[in-house]
Symmetry: C2
Subunit: 353 residues, 2 copies
Amino acid sequence: MKRSQKTITIQDVARKAGVSVSTVSRVMNGKDDVAEETIEKVQAVVHELGYASSLAARGMRSHRTNVIGLIMPDVASYYCQEIMRGVNREIARLDKDLIIYTSGVAEKENIAQHERSYVALLNGSITDGVVVVTPTATQFSTHAPLVIVDPNNETPDYLAVIATNREGALAVMKYLTGLGHRRIGYITGRMELTSSKQRLQGYKDGLDAAGIPLDGDLIAVGDYTTETAAVCARKLLALPDRPTAIFASNDMSAMGVYQVAGELGLQIPEDLSVVGFDNIREAALLNPPLTTVDQFIEKMGSTAIKVLVQMVKGETISSNSVEDNLFKIPTQLVIRESCASMSQHSPEQSTGS
Amino acid sequence: MKRSQKTITIQDVARKAGVSVSTVSRVMNGKDDVAEETIEKVQAVVHELGYASSLAARGMRSHRTNVIGLIMPDVASYYCQEIMRGVNREIARLDKDLIIYTSGVAEKENIAQHERSYVALLNGSITDGVVVVTPTATQFSTHAPLVIVDPNNETPDYLAVIATNREGALAVMKYLTGLGHRRIGYITGRMELTSSKQRLQGYKDGLDAAGIPLDGDLIAVGDYTTETAAVCARKLLALPDRPTAIFASNDMSAMGVYQVAGELGLQIPEDLSVVGFDNIREAALLNPPLTTVDQFIEKMGSTAIKVLVQMVKGETISSNSVEDNLFKIPTQLVIRESCASMSQHSPEQSTGS
DNA sequence: CTGTTAGCGCGTTCAA
DNA sequence: TTGAACGCGCTAACAG
């Protein structure tokens, strides 16, 4: 169980090397005003003792730790993984260090509280700045640089990186209506999330742009999961005048639609067109490959870090894509094979009135 | 870009509240020897100023941060996600905080170095103890509690949590040979990893136990990925006397075998039995459901935390499952529908000699 | 009950 | 070129 008690400090090194602590400090920080042989002697002792300076003490003094904090709702979802991928890449490129904290373990009620306390925890002590992903909280008690990815609320005080959810959904609707669809079902995400609200707005606006009246029956409330989406799809497809296309607000939900279409013996895209959102890896592997919207999640992660590091350095944020404190990462429609134009649709049993 | 410079300290609170810093400290830490009205006054100021104590300073003084560090090779793999799930659960249960660090972004060469520096970084300053997952390094310069999950080397100095890889593979071989298979192909994992070596050993021992001579041609070197496994499977199934069963050293690899079997028009399990290792979620969803070995990865994560926290508290590790500094988490064979006994095999073209 | 004092381990002056 | 002294923000001991 091996548990040597004392943590070894700069003092131990100094004593053993027969120099003062400040000399050791100079060697550790690569100052050039130290005699060559002193450097070697100190380094030898450092190596022998396995000394490493304490982040806490160092950060406390120098007010710069070279560490970036990342606060995420979870680490298991595809979304978060992509964010982390982008963050990691950028952190490596900038030669910074990264510390991740997950707030998702707490019960729903406490998430905002947890987020706030973690911002406070990381901030100003061990971290130069913090990126918070899809925060529940709107206000953070920190005076250090902070960037938000996909805010779920209005957070005018902080710089945020967001995907153009509404525009992405709008592009889908334009595509679908262009294909001749007029009965388009929609499966929402978790409606408390901004992303979900914005995508729904895009759906409505798309309908509007095509001059199609909104039919509440065609909107089913999901929660971004495959299971719930399947329930929604079943409801939608049981409608008297059932939709010829279903727009699921994320790819996981679209997979639920695929599943139900299979159960009902509906061919995609001949009998039913399906569109998702996110462009997760599996989207291209589905049968048929899913048409969806790529929102470049990874890029959102790397952008957040890039911006944060600029803030840490005290640079002014320069970009043409920033307005109202928002960094918009444009989405892109990825057309694959899950949609057919109405003219190609199977001339099936004309259900409904 | 909102960037108030000064970080607010306990001093600011004390001054504004008209009390001393120690009183503020007492209130913050919930000491009971403070007057009710003083508490309220201080809390009001704390709230107003958005004050949060610095982890760095706090940890430096009290030598106890209540924070556990977790160092992982990556955060994207199924394995790591399961570990995190277990870790998260236990952290929440014990009311600790968690900080995750990923070493996987670096180039291969530097991983060990990175790991070591991160152990040093987290340790003794901002963390009470550290869990390192599948480390490349063998030696860490820390004198604080440290637990290793799935060591890839001999690390006799540290307590480690491991899955019984060899025994798991042995169980598979016993099952397969019991079904009458004698030509059993094997796809290895990344051979530099201990888990991979141990599983291979289990394969060999299983052959031995059944009195089947080892045939080098039946062992294909993979790397735990689906892509490479597919290449391996193609090679294996092109053998003159091709195997009647393939044991893939993880489920991702088994998926590669499924894929190739499909290409070759081989029915599973009628023409080919397949076994995996890991029991990932997708295993049960494959067609047919995959027989595999569950190694309870999540439990490894929670166990590591449990043990580490005991060490932090200075308790002696009490368990019957610990010997030689190793905590063994037993694996379990999960039999589904991807294997058939030889007597049920399609009486196909008898290839080979 | 509250304020004063003394460090925790480190980096950074300022002298020597 | 090196060492002594100070202070970062905080908690714990000791007074009052």
